[in-house]
């Protein structure tokens, strides 16, 4: 059973629709007592890192998330700002983040590119991983972001895309996966990645 963290600023609805489309059992997690039966966790995200962290704090799931993900190694997938808050710090509102992954989050340079980045960008794989199985040669994913993460440890990088140079599109560190792009809104390739995660998480 996939647990989708359901909080004020998230787009949990879209992730739930996507899980249902690929035939994966899922439920909303709206508080610390809702994790029963959950074998993998998805944290959807839209909006700012600070608003997201405040919102997660408000529903009281953070201590339980840390226990499940960091100590019990439950598979975890963060999407968009759900990737950004895993890092140590975000330039957006000067926010201290969770620090599960070393590195920080910075803004695209408005002098060079339109910000936010909105649209389909080509994913370039940095290493082989079952998470990215079945995508074919040229897979485009949907991105909406003004900020991007800079992992301190290059080996955390799974894939990048190009917007004013390479930026972090997906990461993996052990049981922690995260995607800057909205895999729930990236058409068939996005659903493939979600399925890869869910099957890994339930397997």
């Amino acid at each position: 059973m996939i647990g989708i963290i359901n909080y004020k600023a998230g787009n949990s609805h879209s992730v739930k629709n996507a899980c249902e489309k690929i035939g994966v059992e899922c439920k909303y997690v709206g508080g610390p007592d809702d994790f029963d039966g959950v074998s993998a966790i998805v944290l959807p995200g839209v909006g700012s890192a600070k608003a997201t962290l405040d919102s997660l704090d408000e529903i009281g799931v953070l201590p339980r998330l840390e226990e499940l993900v960091l100590r019990r190694r439950v598979p975890f997938l963060g999407i968009c700002v759900g990737l950004q808050i895993l890092f140590e710090h975000s330039e957006e509102d000067d926010a201290d983040c969770l620090g599960w992954i070393k590195g920080n989050v910075v803004k695209f340079d408005e002098k060079n590119v339109r910000v936010p980045q909105i649209g389909w960008n080509r994913l370039v794989r940095k290493r082989r991983d079952p998470f990215l199985a079945g995508l074919g040669e040229s897979a485009y994913f949907y991105f909406v972001n003004s900020y991007y993460a800079k992992p301190a440890d290059e080996s955390d990088l799974l894939a990048v895309a190009d917007y004013d140079g390479e930026f972090c599109a997906m990461i993996r560190r052990g049981n922690i996966y995260a995607s800057q792009c909205h895999i729930e809104k990236s058409g068939p390739v996005g659903l493939t990645v979600l399925k890869n995660f869910c099957e890994g998480g339930n397997g």
Binding site: S14, E20, V46, I118, N121, K185, G187, P188
Partner: protein, 265 residues
């Protein structure tokens, strides 16, 4: 870098997709949910639904429809029409849409752009504007005036100034719909699209007038637009020939325009 986006646009009345010409003479095409599924399966990059009578009928947007579309469509979609404030925006987003389009309401109350951006993020707030070519004047230096309420009411506002203000207030994207070209199928107004795209730093979406793939080629090669809205050419019986998303993308790809590739079955 980003692919140029194709956005399918649907005007919806009572759950049915309709097609008007220059804001008049609507004819019904098909149920909106069916249209959404069909065009999604054609691999459109994005969709926009306008609940076109919500505003005039002073009723909130049809959330059941927003929700039903969300179960069929796994690319981003925007909803507009009848948005009165933050509560409506929240409801639309929670029903499964990614973005909210504001138009006449934003002209009446520009702060809604800032409030929406603050509450939900800029990426959720699309400023749609109806622009009409007029004589250049001191008050309308760009030669394009903003109209509201189904392009019936002229505001005296300059289109470029409004676009810049919208971007400053926190809009994440701007849709520039040409009233003159809307429904003509003769191509986008490249002048106003280019003018606005050159002068704001957020993505600009061209709208109004697309009738064949060539028009998308023109807008992507001759302006800095990030996306083009298409509707009639996809499904209107008023056009001699409709095109599939695949046909349009293939046309663009062959001519060197970056698009999200069509994935063969």
């Amino acid at each position: 870098m980003l692919a140029n986006r194709l956005i399918a646009c649907f005007d919806v009345i009572g759950g049915m997709v309709t097609k008007a010409s220059q804001f008049q003479n609507n004819i019904d095409i098909e149920p909106a949910v069916d249209a959404a599924r069909r065009i999604y399966e054609q691999q459109i990059d994005e969709l926009i639904f306008y609940d076109v009578t919500a505003s005039a009928e002073k009723r909130p947007i049809d959330l059941n429809l927003v929700e039903a579309v969300g179960k069929e469509v796994f690319v981003p979609y925007t909803v507009g029409g009848g948005i009165r404030g933050l509560t409506d925006m929240y409801n639309v987003l929670k029903s499964g849409a990614e973005k909210i389009s504001v138009d006449s309401m934003a002209v009446r109350n520009p702060q809604i752009i800032a409030q929406g951006a603050k509450e939900f993020g800029s990426q959720c707030v699309v400023l749609s504007m109806q622009v009409k070519r007029v004589a250049k004047s001191a008050s309308i230096p760009s030669g394009y005036e903003i109209a509201i309420d189904g392009a019936r009411v002229f505001t005296g506002m300059d289109a470029l100034e409004w676009a810049a203000r919208g971007a400053d207030l926190g809009a994440g994207e701007i849709v520039v719909n040409s009233i003159d070209n809307d429904g003509t199928h003769h191509g986008y107004d490249l002048d106003v699209t280019g003018l606005i795209a050159d002068n704001v730093r957020i993505p600009v979406v061209a709208s109004g007038g697309a009738g064949k793939p060539e028009h998308l080629y023109d807008v992507f090669t001759r302006t800095q637009a990030s996306a083009g809205i298409i509707s009639s050419m996809l499904y209107s019986p008023r056009l001699e020939r409709n095109f599939t998303v695949e046909e349009i993308k293939e046309y663009l790809r062959r001519r060197g325009v970056a698009v999200r590739p069509f994935i063969g079955r």
